[in-house]
Amino acid sequence: MTTAYSVPIDNGSLIGDDLPVYTRKDFVSNQEVRWCPGCGDYGILAQMQKMLPNLGVRREDLVFISGIGCSSRFPYYVETYGFHSIHGRALTLASGLKVTRPELKVFVITGDGDGLSIGGNHLLHAMRRNLDLTVVLFNNRIYGLTKGQYSPTSEIGKITKSSPVGTTESPLSPIKIALAAGATFVARTIDRDIKHLEQTLDAAARHKGISFVEVYQNCNVFNDNAFAAFTDKEVRQDKMLYLENGKPMRFGSNNEHGIRLNGFMPEVVHDVADDSSLIHHDTTANPVLASILAGMDYPEYPVPVGIFRAVDAPTYEDLVSEQVAHAQAGGTPDFNSLLRGGETWVVD
């Protein structure tokens, strides 16, 4: 009697010589895209479809899992395996799938309501476990699908359909949460900078362990221009800080501004010659500096985008598989002896 240790699917090696040459088109499904015209989601989908052919993963080994919300329609539009689950729970499905099928490349698509409100608990726990999942959180600071209520990332005082005289709640910072929960890869990008978006998605997908990407995404119907003050092309260089590993934290069209620390507080220096700017190291295990960066917000500071943190740590599913392998080191177990394990007696 043999025992199944893994799901009996023969899908060969993940990256081999026989990997087909894909183009963007191979990842475009036949489904009609139903987002509002002008929605930031289009850009994210396009960059994902552009990035996937070069990832070195077979199409059939990719799975996109989502919850509920505008962003969660994403799996319908990518030509691979997709699971449009229920509100807030995409990460739970992804966790069970990844533990039993570690060889698959699993993406989780979520939003600020789905991932931080109804599914907030799962986000924390998937992060601390360090499952090898790529989580893309579309942050538009509004509930779009339900037509315009405030979300957990809406700024305090925001007027929406459910807060006609302004909200009375402070917003969550997804990056701070990710860092606090111990996510091993934490990044932020914006829908309007497609090059940065594609690079960030690519780096996230290649990270082994949980990768969390917050995308500032414009909902042009219910929260138009929520990020325009710093993401517009004309102001971007001056209002955003592009984090690059090993590089000083400088910004401005002529790199004339920098970020340095004053005690525990970041401060902006406006001097081309100043060399006191912090150097960004995303591989630093200690998340303190990354957390300080996460606390920098517009308009007081330039908004940091890029990779805040990318560190190595064993994944949950590998540790689980190791325990199983260890338990099986003695050879194939026999169920009959399990039934007879412990105290038995014979009646003749």
Partner: protein, 636 residues
């Protein structure tokens, strides 16, 4: 260690057919261990038996307090028995609190053994006794045996050099020794077990065995008992036996199913009483490829199981009633995506937190109807601890074959109860059928159903050409794409319902205990099996035309059920709820079934079912359970 000589020559030995003993004491007194050890000894001797542990609600209530009392009841017999007994013949009470909470159940003239040293002023106060019941005559209707268990144990361990506190911990072995003597049992089984258990603590082993033997010798020499008792072995089938509790059997059954299916088992669960033991058991069975996932909450537990099922593994989740409520939305996702999923609900007393350690069967309607939309799942209910093993395999057989969620409705009585189990032949269990979809080229429709089972194809990631999307939104039966088409939703809903109903085609003929027609049929499900069977057998012993049947398949019902019901004049449905199954039976079969309900956190006693049977047969007047209405409830 040798067993002391068995009897004094003048000692009278009375033969009994059946004895029910309850050990009770503070939760720190080791009563579960004492009960379990006596059970093992009786089983090895060849008695038939049944046990029921009654845990306190608190983990560590203050020592000696009423809420801290823990009990373990067992019944052993020379004939076949089905329950741990209505009322104990023997009560061992280790302190005043244990006496107070349990003595009311002891049969009149029953044997009451107490540790008299514990009946001091402090403990009496904790148990709210104003005078010492051992002295005030209030226990006159019982055979009171006072033993200074505490000091006798201390004396026996005088040489060990253990502290007074440590010596106190061996009292339960002393008490066990006394009872083993009383029933003429050898110390061998307990000795062997203790040698294993305390391998690394030779001082503890030595103390426990000394206390055990001192208790035994006390029985021998103290001349406190009028007689010793003998309960002969029961005529049981030859074979290799072991003990099994319901939760253990459930875990074993799931792993058996995994081996028979050749698929890995994934168990997502959040700790909850009384289901946690399934998580504990399965987490030990990694050598069978089992992966357990202690989720952050109930929803994550079922979500992860669905994810595992989607990937082609056997996704399993387990919980109790409150957790089933939390899982309901996700269960519906499995209903909609038509994935094989097994959900265990070890029911407990509700609603809300209810009484977590107490038994009830009040989740049947939740399992049946507690989800949004027209949501059909298969529901199975094991009836005894060992039946959990077979029904766990059956749950997976159905889930895999029909691509359907199956709720496995256990209860605290079945889950925590244990019984001797003739170890079944594993090799004769057939392989479990399942199939992954394969790429046949061309268009792949994820909802193209098997014409026989109506199962949709299990298209797991990793296979080129089968890329597709599933989800909670209604899908077209033709393409698998999102569909709001009215006709399509009607068709898909009916197909999901019909797929569950088709499971009935494979349900074996319903077993009837007794003749297949008569004056009264008693219908039950789950842990009430023993009490109902015993009461019905007794009624037939009185010459009454009473039969019973126990439903292990609840949704769908067995196909022969309606016809069987119609062959009896009356149908009685005893349940530990306000009427779940009876409601379903009345709705489906238009039968005037009579409910009989107990919602006390305790199992049925045989005599309670007997009382109701007598009422329905006109042997006696209306039967009421003996719960006095709370003041104010009756409206004066």
């Amino acid at each position: 260690m040798t067993t002391p000589t068995l009897t004094r020559p003048e000692q009278r030995v009375e033969e009994l057919e059946r004895v029910t003993i309850r050990f009770c004491g503070d939760s720190g007194d080791g009563m579960q261990l004492t009960g379990t050890q006596f059970t093992r000894t009786a089983a090895v001797y060849g008695n038939d038996l049944a046990t029921y542990p009654d845990f306190p609600a608190e983990i560590r209530a203050p020592t000696g307090s009423l809420p801290g009392v823990s009990g373990f009841q067992l019944s052993f017999a020379s004939t076949e028995i089905y329950t741990p007994g209505d009322a104990p013949d023997v009560l061992v009470a280790m302190n005043p609190a244990a006496l107070k909470t349990n003595v009311g159940d002891l049969v009149e003239t029953g044997l009451l053994i107490v540790d008299e040293a514990e009946f001091n002023a402090v403990n009496l106060k904790k148990a709210a006794y104003s005078s010492n019941p051992l002295d005030d005559g209030s226990l006159a209707k019982y055979q009171l045996i006072r033993i200074d268990i505490t000091h006798n144990t201390e004396k026996a361990l005088a040489e060990t050099g253990l502290s007074v506190k440590d010596k106190f911990r061996s009292r339960n072995f002393y008490a066990l020794g006394v009872i083993l003597w009383l029933y003429g049992r050898s110390l061998e089984t307990t000795t062997r077990w203790a040698e294993q258990q305390f391998k690394r603590r030779p001082d503890v082993l030595d103390a426990n065995l000394k206390a055990l033997s001192a208790g035994y010798n006390f029985g021998e020499t103290a001349e406190l008992f009028h007689a010793r008792y003998e309960v002969k072995p029961a005529p049981v089938k030859p074979g290799v036996y072991r003990h099994i509790s319901g939760n253990e059997a459930t875990a074993l059954g799931f792993v058996a199913a995994s081996v028979k299916a050749g698929l890995p088992l994934f168990y997502g669960s959040y700790p909850i009483t009384p289901a946690s033991d399934i998580l504990h058991e399965l987490s030990k069975l990694k050598s069978f490829g089992v992966k357990t996932f202690q989720a952050e909450d109930e929803i994550a537990a079922v979500g992860a199981a669905i994810g595992a099922a989607y990937g082609g593994a056997m996704g399993l989740t387990g919980t109790s009633g409150p957790g089933l409520a939390l899982k309901s939305e996700a269960i519906n996702l499995a209903v909609m995506t038509e994935l094989p999923l097994v959900i265990v609900d070890v029911q407990r007393a509700g609603p809300s937190t209810g009484m977590p350690t107490k038994v009830e069967q009040s989740d049947l309607l939740q399992a049946m109807y507690g989800r949004n939309g027209d949501s059909h799942v298969v529901i199975l209910a094991p009836q005894t601890p060992s039946d959990c093993y077979f029904m766990a395999i059956e749950a997976w057989r159905i889930a895999l074959k029909y691509m359907v969620p199956v709720i496995f409705l256990s209860d605290g009585y079945v889950a925590n109860g244990s019984e001797p189990w003739r170890i079944p032949d594993f090799d004769s269990i057939p392989k479990l059928e399942w199939k992954y979809a394969t790429n046949k080229g061309g268009f792949f429709n994820p909802y193209e159903r098997d014409p026989e089972t109506l199962a949709r194809p299990w298209a797991v990631p990793g296979q080129a050409g089968l890329e597709h999307r599933v989800g909670g939104i209604e899908k077209s039966s033709e393409t698998g794409d999102i569909s709001y088409d009215p006709g399509n939703h009607h068709r898909m809903t009916m197909a999901r319902k019909e797929r569950v109903e088709r499971v009935a085609r494979e349900i074996p003929p319903t077993e009837i205990n007794g003749p297949d027609s008569g004056d009264l049929l008693v219908v039950g499900w789950g842990g009430t099996y023993g009490a109902i069977t015993s009461a019905v057998n007794r009624a037939r012993g009185r010459g009454k035309k009473v039969s019973s049947l126990h439903l292990r398949y609840i949704n769908p019902f067995p196909p022969d059920l309606g016809e069987i019901l119609s062959r009896f004049d009356k149908v009685l449905v005893p349940e530990l709820n306000t009427g779940n199954l009876v409601w379903m039976l009345r709705a489906k079969y238009l039968v005037d079934a009579v409910p009989f309900n107990k919602i006390a956190g305790q199992p049925f006693k045989i005599r309670e079912i007997t009382g109701k049977i007598q009422e329905l047969l006109g042997e006696s007047g209306p039967y009421e359970l003996g719960f006095a209405p709370a003041s104010g409830l009756s409206g004066g």
